[in-house]
């Protein structure tokens, strides 16, 4: 079975020295580039399965690189962002990046994100109708949700929000993306709608809403649905 090819575009050598062996050790194939130009050339010639893209590159803006990648590839892109790039991070996610990792990050976090990113986003036409984990079971075909075996009734909007999160399959969804998907175009300004509905979902689907396990808030970015085992 062929191993996924990961392209690292990162200018800091120390970080490359950490990333390459960590990923190779996990039986990924790894390519690395220190500049945007080199990285884009490699992406074209090798067509990697996933790109780890640093936003602060020396020769070109990371956002440009993302746009160019997205102009011809739908393969997952995970952003590596420094602490002072919150705004760029959200912009990159809205521009089509799949997920992000805030520096500094550990190996476990990195591998978990890569695993999630390599999973396919669920297509709109349901092929795999049931998603479950952590006591939650969501049947997309039947539009049925249950917690610990009990069926939970959701309103139409609550269900649409849940479905939007489920389809992202563990990846982060920005406020903008969720608002556009659930409320349609023009709903982007009403972030508080989203927060209120998220509070309602948590009330119904979390054991303790003040300690959410599934509906994870990414502050100032968006939300992520985590169905992995507790204590992740």
């Amino acid at each position: 079975m062929n191993q996924p090819l990961i392209l690292i575009i990162e200018d800091e050598e120390a970080l490359r020295r950490f990333l390459i062996p960590t990923l190779s050790g996990q039986r990924y194939q790894v390519l690395s580039a220190a500049t945007a130009t080199e990285g884009l050339a490699m992406a074209r010639s090798h067509n990697p399965d996933l790109v780890l893209l640093d936003l602060g590159l020396p020769d070109r803006d990371g956002m440009d690189v993302l746009k160019e990648l997205r102009s011809w590839s739908r393969k997952p892109v995970v952003i590596l962002s420094a602490r002072n790039q919150e705004r760029d991070k959200v912009q990159a996610l809205d521009q089509g990046a799949d997920d992000y990792l805030a520096k500094p990050f550990g190996a476990a976090e990195l591998l978990a994100r890569i695993r999630v990113a390599l999973r396919h986003t669920l297509p709109t036409e349901v092929t795999e109708p049931v998603v479950c984990g952590g006591g939650l079971r969501i049947d997309l075909a039947q539009r049925e949700v249950s917690l610990e075996g009990r069926i939970v009734k959701l309103t139409a909007l609550e269900y649409r929000l849940l479905e939007a999160l489920v389809r992202r399959n563990g990846k982060v969804a920005t406020h903008r993306q969720l608002l556009a998907e659930v409320w349609g175009p023009g709903g982007e300004g009403n972030t508080h709608y989203l927060r209120i509905y998220m509070a309602m979902l948590r009330k119904k689907l979390e054991v303790d809403p003040t300690r959410p396990r599934h509906f994870i808030t990414e502050p100032n970015v968006g939300y992520r649905l985590s169905l992995e085992a507790l204590g992740d």
Partner: protein, 643 residues
């Protein structure tokens, strides 16, 4: 080799105009870059003691303006001056000429004329007293005054006609004295003189019997009338002086009042813009002209109040040398008139603070008799500007000192806190690299230490960066209305994912639903407060409560730890403050960050002692603005429906 420039002599007396002579001498010397000498010629005994003292004052003033001074004794002013000019090889002699001499003294008998006759080699600069400004419409008045004079004389003669005389002219004299005095007072001494002569003739020809006789027949009467003339002159002179004095008093009063008002308003101006506006307002009121303050700004000007309607201003490089005044307050600052604009240098204690430009409707700038007041204004404005500059400098120095103090605290704190984890990481890594085998347990131990210490380093650096960015305003608070529960959940979730279950009891009241806040920042506050409580009361239960009141929402993190001694309660939010005896761990930034974030939200944070032991950190966030409308179909989220 070039000969040194010949000096300029300035002759000073005790009169007030000596100040202008000093200024003129200073200016001339500056223009020609020549030395200048202030001279007083002592013409022997007779001079009053006060005069001698006043001369000393002027000489002192001249000395301060860079002149050398010299006193000479000579029988006459002209003689003394001409000798001195010759001996000092002066290139120019500046002297004044007053107007209040007898008119004939001006015809060829003035010191200047005398000096010219003596064949002076030096250039002679004579400063006249300022010309009296003609009353408006003086030409139109001349004819009317003449007519009035004749009418008054006719009336007097008519009145005298009615008085029984019988050869005794005394009553007639009184009537005529009254008339002449009135004329002289009203239309000036020239017409008064004419009127007295005419009244003599009128009396002789019309009133004295037999009429139309020759003058010589009335010698005694004629003598009488000469007395009338003199008496009228004396009365008129007195009246004139009194009137002048009254005017002078009035003028002084006006000056004092204007200066007082200006000074008061300037003292209230807190910015150069404020000073400029105050100046413009007062100059408009007192001088009826528009005023601007100009500050040199490279090749152009910074003009306040902006903008000046006339963009065509001479460049600073061109104008400043022309305005160039002395280096200190009160140094000569004669206004410069260019077209309709009057320019003045605003000279403070150490140099020019800017330039004042006044625009009046009439050609020729402001009339020169207003200059004295204008100069007083300029000094006040300059001092106000200077005061602001010093204030600004003091403030900057204070900020610099504060920054410097912080920097040294920072270096001290960081020096230690960065080194410790670095030393541990370095040590652990190098022992892992040693040749030979290490027991598996030790290996894991060392690696865990490397990970933990580097996390601590990252945390410390992150905190520092956050605090710096918060304080410099680089982090903008992005307030959004959101449920408090989400922030609390996010904070607790983040900590619990990392370290397992936390003994935190959460208690939210039913009423608080949406609060405007920056989720990432408030989450940071909660994490810091909980971490802080964990550190001081390890393993014990803590309470996280939230409740609201109109306009505010309160949050509180309370522990059952040992509490914080009262004397440190004010300081726990200070940067790098650590309780004495506190163990390893924080660096004293967590609470400082909390305070910075809460304050950036417009809220407050404080520490309370918790009843029953422990401490309680409480912060309040303002509920400002109107909460957004709830979405349709959100019936389940009635107010407080969070729980």
């Amino acid at each position: 080799m070039e000969a040194p420039p010949r000096p300029i002599l300035v002759a000073l007396g005790s009169e007030a105009r000596s100040l202008r002579l000093i200024q003129a001498g200073f200016r001339l010397a500056r223009e020609r870059s020549a030395p200048w000498i202030a001279v007083h010629v002592d013409t022997g005994p007779g001079a009053a003691v006060e005069d001698a003292e006043q001369v000393q004052v002027w000489m002192q003033e001249a000395l301060q303006m860079g002149a050398s001074v010299q006193m000479v004794a000579a029988p006459t002013l002209a003689q003394g001056l001409s000798e001195l000019t010759r001996t000092s090889h002066a290139q120019a002699l500046v002297l004044g000429r007053s107007r209040d001499r007898w008119p004939w003294a001006r015809l060829g008998h003035s010191t200047a004329d005398e000096l010219q006759r003596r064949g002076l080699e030096a250039e002679l600069v004579v400063l006249d007293d300022r010309p009296e400004v003609a009353e408006p419409g003086a030409e139109g008045l001349q004819f009317r005054a003449l007519l009035g004079t004749l009418l008054v004389l006719a009336a007097c003669t008519g009145l005298a006609w009615l008085i029984p005389r019988e050869g005794d002219p005394s009553q007639v004299l009184l009537v005529n004295l009254l008339g002449v005095t009135f004329i002289a007072h009203r239309w000036g001494s020239g017409l008064g003189l004419l009127a007295s002569a005419m009244s003599v003739l009128l009396y002789n020809f019309l009133l004295e019997t037999p009429r139309f006789r020759s003058v010589s027949a009335h010698w005694p009467n004629l003598l009488m009338f000469l007395l009338v003339l003199l008496a009228a002159q004396a009365v008129v002179g007195l009246l004139h002086r009194m009137r002048q004095q009254a005017r002078e008093v009035q003028r002084r009063e006006l000056h004092t009042a204007s200066l007082y008002l200006l000074g008061r308003d300037l003292a209230r101006s807190l910015t150069p813009e404020g000073v400029a506006e105050t100046t413009a307002r007062h100059i408009q009121r007192v001088f009826r002209g528009q005023a601007w303050l100009l500050f040199p700004d490279g090749a152009g000007w910074r003009v306040r109040p902006a903008p000046s309607p006339l963009a065509l201003l001479p460049s600073p490089g061109e104008l400043l040398p022309q305005l160039a005044a002395g280096g200190r307050v009160g140094d000569p600052l004669e206004p410069l008139v260019i077209g309709e604009a009057t320019w003045l240098s605003l000279t403070g204690t150490n140099g020019s603070e800017g330039v004042l430009r006044i625009l009046t409707a009439n050609e020729g700038g402001l009339p020169s008799q207003t200059w004295e007041l204008l100069k007083a204004f300029a000094v006040q404005i300059a001092l106000a500007l200077e005061r602001l500059r010093w204030l600004e400098e003091a403030r900057r120095t204070q900020v610099e000192n504060e920054t410097e103090r912080l920097r040294s605290t920072l270096l001290g704190a960081i020096g230690h806190d960065l080194r410790t984890p670095l030393a541990a990481i370095h040590g652990a890594a190098s022992s892992l690299l040693l040749p030979g085998t290490i027991a598996e347990a030790t290996r894991t131990d060392l690696l865990t230490m490397i990970q933990e210490e580097s996390e601590r380093l990252a945390h410390l650096l992150g905190n520092l960066l956050d605090l710096t960015r918060l304080e410099s305003g680089a982090i903008q608070v992005q307030k959004e209305w959101q449920p408090l529960e989400e922030v609390i959940g996010s904070a607790l979730g983040r900590m619990e994912r990392r370290q397992g279950h936390l003994p935190v009891r959460v208690d939210l009241t039913e009423t608080c639903s949406l609060v405007p806040l920056d989720a990432a920042l408030i989450e940071q506050v909660l994490v810091n407060l909980i971490t802080n409580a964990q550190r001081h009361a390890p393993g014990q239960e803590m309470d996280l409560r939230a409740w609201d009141e109109p306009g505010w929402v309160h949050l509180e993190v309370a522990d059952r730890g040992p509490g914080i001694p009262a004397e440190f309660q004010d300081r726990v939010f200070d940067k790098f403050f650590r309780l004495p005896g506190a163990g390893e761990g924080g660096v004293g930034l967590g609470l400082a960050i909390c305070r910075a974030i809460v304050q950036a939200h417009g809220g407050t944070i404080h520490l309370q002692e918790r009843p029953g032991g422990g401490s309680c950190f409480r912060f309040a966030l303002p509920l400002d603005g109107t909460p957004p409308a709830p979405p349709e179909g959100a019936e389940s989220l009635t107010p407080g429906g969070i729980r």
